[in-house]
């Protein structure tokens, strides 16, 4: 049975990382196409005419957009192995809640760019994590996938904001390191230093450096 999977992505995107991790968790073969965001490909514009954003998963020619929607799609299509969401409806709702929280706060934080807001968000997430190894309990899952891509950006935030996430939120860092021990994660997340270099080059390019 020929399954064609194409992922349109931009390498430092935490949202794209979610989809990479989900695909790898399910052991799926896929082709990744790197988008040059200032010059979006005709394919991207055709597959995501509404938002014109990455990531987009194209499955046998049909597009699925919005990273968390893609992750759920992957989980439901390939439901014979490696469940990403719990089967219990209440636990599933909790997982969806926390993934949604991350997205809501991420867009707000981007708008406000506050170090204080970021720490507050992490502290709430630490509360949700409690003493569990992963957000869902013993098994790596949906909420971990929703958040771990952000780890690529920690070094950038820390350097620009002159603070240490580990000092403020040690549980989050411990959780991140635990996730990174999984090959599906380590192969999906890029080197934080590379992300930092890119962020700095954007700043220079758009005249944000003083």
């Amino acid at each position: 049975m020929g399954e064609e999977l194409i992922l349109l992505n931009f390498w430092p995107s935490m949202f794209g990382a979610r989809v990479r991790i989900a695909l790898k968790e399910k052991g799926l073969n896929y082709e990744e196409k790197e988008e040059d965001l200032p010059n979006k490909s005709p394919l991207l514009l055709e597959m995501n005419p509404v938002h014109k954003k990455i990531p987009v998963l194209i499955h046998n020619g049909k597009p699925i957009c919005e990273s968390l929607i893609i992750v759920q799609y992957i989980d439901e299509m390939w439901n014979d192995k490696a469940p990403l969401l719990p089967s219990d409806p209440c636990a599933k709702a909790q997982a969806r809640f926390w993934a949604d929280y991350i997205d809501q706060k991420k867009s707000k934080e981007e708008a406000e760019e506050g170090k204080k807001e970021l720490i507050e968000i992490f502290k709430v997430l630490e509360g949700a994590l409690e003493e569990k190894p992963y957000f869902g309990g013993e098994a790596f899952g949906y909420v971990d996938i929703a958040l771990i891509g952000f780890y690529m950006w920690f070094h950038t935030y820390e350097t620009c904001g002159n603070f240490s996430i580990e000092a403020e939120c040690p549980k989050i860092i411990a959780w991140a390191k635990r996730c990174l021990e999984r090959e599906t994660v380590s192969k999906s997340i890029h080197d934080p230093n590379k992300v930092y270099d890119l962020a700095m080059s954007f700043r220079k390019k758009f005249g944000l450096e003083s």
Binding site: V50, C65, E66, Q72, A93, Q94, F97, D100, Y101, V124
Partner: protein, 220 residues
């Protein structure tokens, strides 16, 4: 016996979404009206993160965020499907429900209550967003097909609240000539018996909206 409670606010489209979901599945529940200016300690305990309605409490366990609650209702109870069964169609339904929440409602609401440049900008944004919905509903009775589904429930604000607000504030946005499909959908939607049962009274909503205008034009 399963115990189902929901915390809501009579005028909130988000709250009404949940009631629609529960009624669609024929679930019996206890409704607790919240005064949004004076939230109960019970609500704050059940939703400490967002402190908002609606919250569904099933056997003592709280679930928050209307779209998440709707998916929960769909999974926890038998009855008519809120989401389709096919994974691709499910992804599509989730996409449009999210689109309504993030891209339609904020500028539509803002267009109602702003003036001048701000209103023009919000109107433009809302117009663009509604165009996508207009195309999506094309040729179908409901977003869910022949029957109401997640997207129709999510679009309750567009189908009802907004039409009332538009009239009161004199905003011509969702017009018949620009959005014939959406207007037809709104008409069908509001005719549906159990949608009708889950809409707040028009005059009460109109009073609220008129109150907002008065508060805005009151001398400071």
């Amino acid at each position: 016996m399963a115990e189902v409670k929901m915390f809501g606010a009579w005028g909130s489209p988000f709250s009404k979404r949940v009631e629609m979901g529960l009624k669609l599945k024929g679930v019996e529940y206890e409704y607790i009206e919240e005064d949004l200016n004076n939230k109960s300690s019970l609500l704050l305990n059940y939703n400490p993160v967002h402190k908002k309605v609606p919250v569904l409490v099933h056997n003592g366990k709280p679930i928050a965020e209307s779209l998440i609650i709707l998916e929960y209702i769909d999974e926890a109870w038998e009855g008519p499907d809120i989401l389709p069964k096919d994974p691709y169609e499910r992804a599509n339904a989730r996409f449009w429900a999210k689109f309504i929440d993030e891209k339609c409602m904020p500028p539509m609401w803002k267009a109602c209550w702003s003036i001048g440049e701000e209103r023009a900008k919000a109107k433009e944004e809302a117009s663009e967003a509604l165009k996508f919905l207009e195309n999506e509903i094309n040729g179908q009775k409901f977003f869910g097909g022949d029957t109401i589904g997640l997207v129709d429930i999510a679009a309750n604000f567009i189908g009802y609240w907004f039409r009332i607000a538009e009239e009161i504030v004199g905003l011509e946005l969702m017009t018949q000539d620009k959005y014939p499909n959406l207007c037809k959908w709104a008409e069908e939607y509001c005719k549906c018996s159990f949608v009708k049962e889950n809409l707040p009274p028009k005059d009460k909503l109109a009073d609220i909206f008129k109150g907002i205008i008065q508060a805005q034009s009151a001398p400071k």
